[in-house]
Amino acid sequence: MPSPDGTLHAITANRLRDGVVVFLGAAGAWVESFADAALLTEAEATTALAAAKAQAERDQFGVDLYAFEVESENGAALPVKMRERIRTLGPSVRLDLGKQAAA
């Protein structure tokens, strides 16, 4: 369910071992592709982020966890801010690198 203003959220982190950008997936598992990220209301994101932070530290899995806003564009989910758009894809100046390279 989206927030009252319609904004959805996703949760991201860097994997501790290799720094790779990951997203919290639907079943609480971490996924590498933003397409597989869980889209949450603001309240859901707050709860999920707190739980994910505690779990990630226990498992030594991820660092720098935070939630970010997502909007819908032509039916597809898209991070609202450029920072997360670049995180989900890779450098805009090197399309051969990052997640966009594997797409």
């Binding site: 860097n14 501790l16 071992r17 290799d18 720094g19 790779v20 950008v21 530290e57 226990r58 030594q60 660092v63 720098d64 609202v80 801010k81 450029m82 920072r83 670049i86 995180r87 890779g90 450098p91 805009s92 100046v93 090197r94 690198l97 990052g98």
Partner: protein, 563 residues
């Protein structure tokens, strides 16, 4: 350890057993710390300051490892090792920075100890590239070669490296601390925008000494370094710096990161009070313990002895013939080659700014080529400049044409050193976790717009510098045309400044007007250039001179007329 020392190259400091043991111990210490982090014995909160002390940041896509290139000077062997590391542990390239260092952008934490081991094999490390310590000391990229050089800054930069590396008082400063040294008539090291800027000089007796500027810096609050002492004798060099750092350590603010740099302390304390505090501390320190022994200076100077130059005529007929036959080469010589102190030699700048390219990036294949060319043409030694280029400092004029041909074959023959295409750009939002906007795409678009070499020559000396946030790693404050990326409600905008100057006539640029969009920015830069060309009195009047004469009015009018 499978040690591969750089060898008896020109201008490279050779580690002794103490250096080697120290670096080896730090690598082993960090290997254990990484193991403890991965096993959960250390929390991220505990581990973060440790990894930063080893040059390891966490950025947008992965870990970033910043490698120290002491005073920007390294050997071909070392560069080849950097290329090997880039291929093995990163994605086949590296980024040369405005601090004369090299960054890898795609590092895995679990690989870092192995990388640091590989670096140690060639007397390199990532220490003092992060954290609140004295950072890697920077200097003139033409050091030891420039015709206008008075004192060789490498000697004193190396003394500072040794003095600061394990200094217990300087590991937890209020904030990072950057020192730059220039020993030439022209300042190519931007000394007055560093925490401490040093001009190495000689007195009438020919003795080396230093003019100290303190409290310069860019970032959120830009300041030009203030003259604190006109002359500090060589023997007092360490004592005086130690006095400055002690005053900073005692009075510098630790409660507010935005007010923690020494520039704020000097500003808030007032110059006279700050000088008095330093002089008082200096008087306490001065004495045998802190005296810089001439024997130590002499020993370190032996590491930087001139390479075995041949006895050559002042000019080269082979060079003149090649220039006459190849206009593109002649243009490269006119733009990228500087005078050398030794007859028959020249200093060649290898631009890492091809039109449309990413400033400061070099592929590992290019690094290998540069390493080969450094061995073939420049005694196996090269430099990283703070404007993100590479310099081969000791090339025979007779061999410049062969060098250029080989550079050109791998897209490294661009002739734009000091011209509008020679843009400084920080990694910006494409890589950096602190950035608010991208810097690289704008640099690419501007350099592509001004790709024509003749147009660049016509425009003349004009530096553009771009930062993706107010931390100003792209030095935009001291650019003739500076560009600062800002975020306005999720959209990238670019604030343009004009009139900045990184040389001894240091100036902070003025904001020209409201920020423009990414789409408008390149046209705005072109408009500024057109106004300059239309208003200058002749080709010898630089952009900064025209700006000083006509003021901001004509530039503002042209860019914002439609608003």
């Amino acid at each position: 350890m499978n040690h591969i020392a750089p060898g008896a190259r020109a201008g490279i400091y050779h580690y002794d057993e103490i250096d080697r043991r120290f670096v080896g111990e730090r690598v082993e210490q960090f290997r254990r710390q990484v193991e403890r982090r991965l096993s959960g014995e250390l929390t991220e909160e505990e581990f973060k300051p440790i990894r930063l002390m080893n040059g390891l940041y966490l950025q947008l896509h992965a870990y970033m490892l910043r490698i120290a290139v002491p005073y920007g000077v390294m050997s071909a062997v070392q560069l080849r090792k950097l290329a090997e590391i880039g291929r093995t542990y990163d994605k086949g390239y590296g980024h040369f920075t405005t601090r004369q260092n090299l960054q890898y952008n795609w590092i895995k934490l679990e690989d870092t100890p192995a990388i640091l081991n590989a670096l140690a094999d060639v007397d390199m490390h990532a220490l003092q590239t992060s954290g609140n310590c004295v950072r890697n000391v920077t200097t003139d990229q033409f050091v030891g070669a420039a015709k206008d050089e008075v004192v060789d800054g490498r000697v004193y930069a190396e003394i500072l490296r040794q003095w600061t590396s394990l200094h217990p008082e300087f590991t937890y400063l209020p904030r990072k601390f950057k020192i730059a040294i220039s020993g030439a008539a022209s300042d190519r090291a931007a000394v007055r925008v560093h925490d401490v800027g040093l001009l190495a000089r000689r007195n009438e007796a020919g003795e080396a000494g230093f003019t100290f500027y303190v409290g310069g810096g860019l970032g959120r609050s830009p300041f030009i370094g203030k003259l604190v002492r006109e002359w500090v004798a060589e023997e007092d060099f360490v004592a005086y710096l130690e006095a400055i750092l002690r005053v900073y350590n005692q009075y510098g603010r630790r409660d507010n990161i935005y007010k923690a740099r020494i520039k704020i302390l000097v500003h808030e304390l007032g110059l006279e009070k700050f000088k008095a505090e330093v002089e008082e501390e200096f008087a306490r320190l001065r004495g045998p313990k802190y005296r810089l022994d001439p024997a130590i200076v002499a020993e370190i100077r032996t590491h930087f002895a001139p390479p075995p130059f041949e006895d050559l005529p002042e000019t080269s007929s082979a060079l003149e013939r090649a220039k006459a036959e190849n206009p593109a080469f002649a243009n490269w010589v006119a733009v990228n080659v500087a005078e050398h102190k030794a007859p028959g030699y020249a200093i060649a700048t290898i631009s890492l700014k091809p039109p449309g390219g990413i400033p400061g990036d070099a592929s590992c294949d290019q690094m290998d080529v540069i390493a080969d060319l450094a061995e073939q043409y420049s005694f196996g030694e090269l430099r990283v400049s703070h404007v993100q280029n590479i310099v081969l400092a000791h090339v025979k004029q007779d061999e410049l044409y062969a060098l250029w041909q080989k550079l050109d074959a791998v897209n490294l023959g661009t002739a734009n050193a000091g011209l509008i295409g020679d843009i400084i750009a920080c990694p910006g939002l494409d890589y950096c976790a602190l950035a608010n906007a991208r810097a690289i795409p704008l640099a690419q678009a501007i350099s592509a717009r001004f790709a024509d070499p003749l147009r660049q020559r016509t425009i003349g000396e004009l530096g553009i510098k771009i930062s993706g946030c107010i931390n100003a790693c792209g030095h935009h404050h001291v650019a003739a045309i500076g560009i600062l990326g800002v975020d306005k409600k999720g959209t990238e905008f670019y604030q343009i400044t004009v009139g900045g100057d990184p040389t001894l006539t240091t100036a902070i640029g003025d904001i020209l007007g409201p920020a423009v969009t990414e789409h408008e920015a390149v046209d705005a830069i072109e408009a500024i250039v057109e106004v300059y060309l239309a208003n200058r009195t002749g080709e010898s009047e630089r952009f900064l001179d025209t700006l000083a004469r006509v003021g901001h009015g004509p530039f503002k009018e042209r860019i914002y007329a439609a608003d």
